[in-house]
Symmetry: C2
Subunit: 230 residues, 2 copies
């Protein structure tokens, strides 16, 4: 009944607490940031700092040595995912006309989709958007302005249609872009949000999507731009 005290090793209580591992500040900071991305991607930003610390194998208090508040840690995550992962070369790929346009589009979307299909990126992008974060909306705006504009400009040139400076982007053109973007991003959503089986051949699916887009673009844009819509 009564719990008997263990008689052996009377002093020094057998070191139940594991020895502290002491890291260089930058390493620890990186470890926390990477762990936090994984953690909040899974649990949402309502996830508790104690659970995050436990997952990292550190004390909860230590988080606050490297990030003053949970809020700031989340901001740092946004920076990491939505600013640092933008590649300037994307615009170069899309606009280098020595390569056929369909090939450029395919190359770009295959690369771009690796970001859109990243489990943690996708979930945090949705959580941040649902939570009303400015940076998520800013990212969406950026995508619209830079990528969409570039692709439509190239399509107009390809199809010998008036420049965007002459005729601004039309709604059907914009929606054509959103359609491609949405269908590709949704491949990631299926996996990262609803845990459905992704296509066996993701690259092939993206490729087909771009090809369909390209074919539709010719049909729709020739009918709508540079000609009076009926």
């Amino acid at each position: 009944m009564a719990k008997a005290a263990r008689p052996s090793t009377p002093r020094k209580p057998a070191r139940a607490t594991k020895p502290r591992t002491r890291l260089a500040p930058e390493q620890r900071s990186d470890q926390i940031l990477r762990g936090a991305i994984q953690f909040f991607a899974e649990r949402g930003f309502g996830g508790q700092t104690r659970d995050l610390a436990e997952q990292l194998g550190i004390s909860q208090a230590l988080l606050y040595r490297y990030f003053p508040t949970k809020e700031m840690l989340i901001e740092r995550i946004y920076e990491e995912l939505f600013v640092r992962r933008l590649k300037p070369e994307w615009d170069v790929i899309l606009s280098t006309r020595t390569e056929p346009l369909l090939s450029r589009l395919t190359r770009f979307y295959l690369d771009y989709s690796t970001m859109l299909h990243d489990y943690e990126w996708g979930r945090i992008y949705l959580y941040s958007g649902l939570g009303g974060s400015k940076i998520a909306q800013r990212f969406a705006d950026h995508v619209t302005q830079s990528i969409f504009t570039r692709v439509i400009a190239e399509l107009r040139h390809e199809f010998r249609l008036p420049d965007l400076t002459k005729i601004p982007m039309t709604e059907p053109e914009l929606e054509l872009m959103w359609g491609l973007h949405g269908s590709i991003f949704y491949i990631g959503i299926r996996k990262s949000v609803y845990h459905l089986e992704p296509p066996h051949d993701v690259a092939g699916t993206v490729k087909r999507g771009v090809e369909s887009f390209y074919a539709n673009a010719r049909a729709i844009m020739s009918g709508k731009v540079g000609r009076r819509s009926k």
Copy 2:
């Protein structure tokens, strides 16, 4: 400096508390359910019961008279959004062959998209999926099994290709369906998650999406089904 007590009306402290409004149980229950959908759509399921009660203009305790736990209230919301809103007539629309297939597809997706584009429906669908709710995944499965299968069956018939019982749905066919679904749902996501301007002409956008889908379907399916893929 010192707050003087108002001398008039010495008894009965001026009724600062508004008179209770007493509703029939079913009415109150409905009011809470509808308010909760709106509330959790905005704040996510981390939203607090006190804030929900305040938004409803009732006491927090009253929530627990009608719903035993917050969890049960959320389950009731799922029931309302993901079970009750499924329309059996969708399958009828898709499979009634007296109407041309493209027309059926357009009619169906125009109706279906009013659900997908509903602000609260979309946000709660995403929140529930991110949160790992079974019912969201079950809904996604249902969509796949019932709608996708029906549409592909009709397309196979239209293009005089082998029956689904002869050759099961191929990955390109499945992805074709997901592509349309994703691009249409994403119109809603843009609005309800990222607060971007929706297209001026949503119906027209959906219609164009279906038309493109139909054209691609012919091209892709004729190349892949009933013929050996290269």
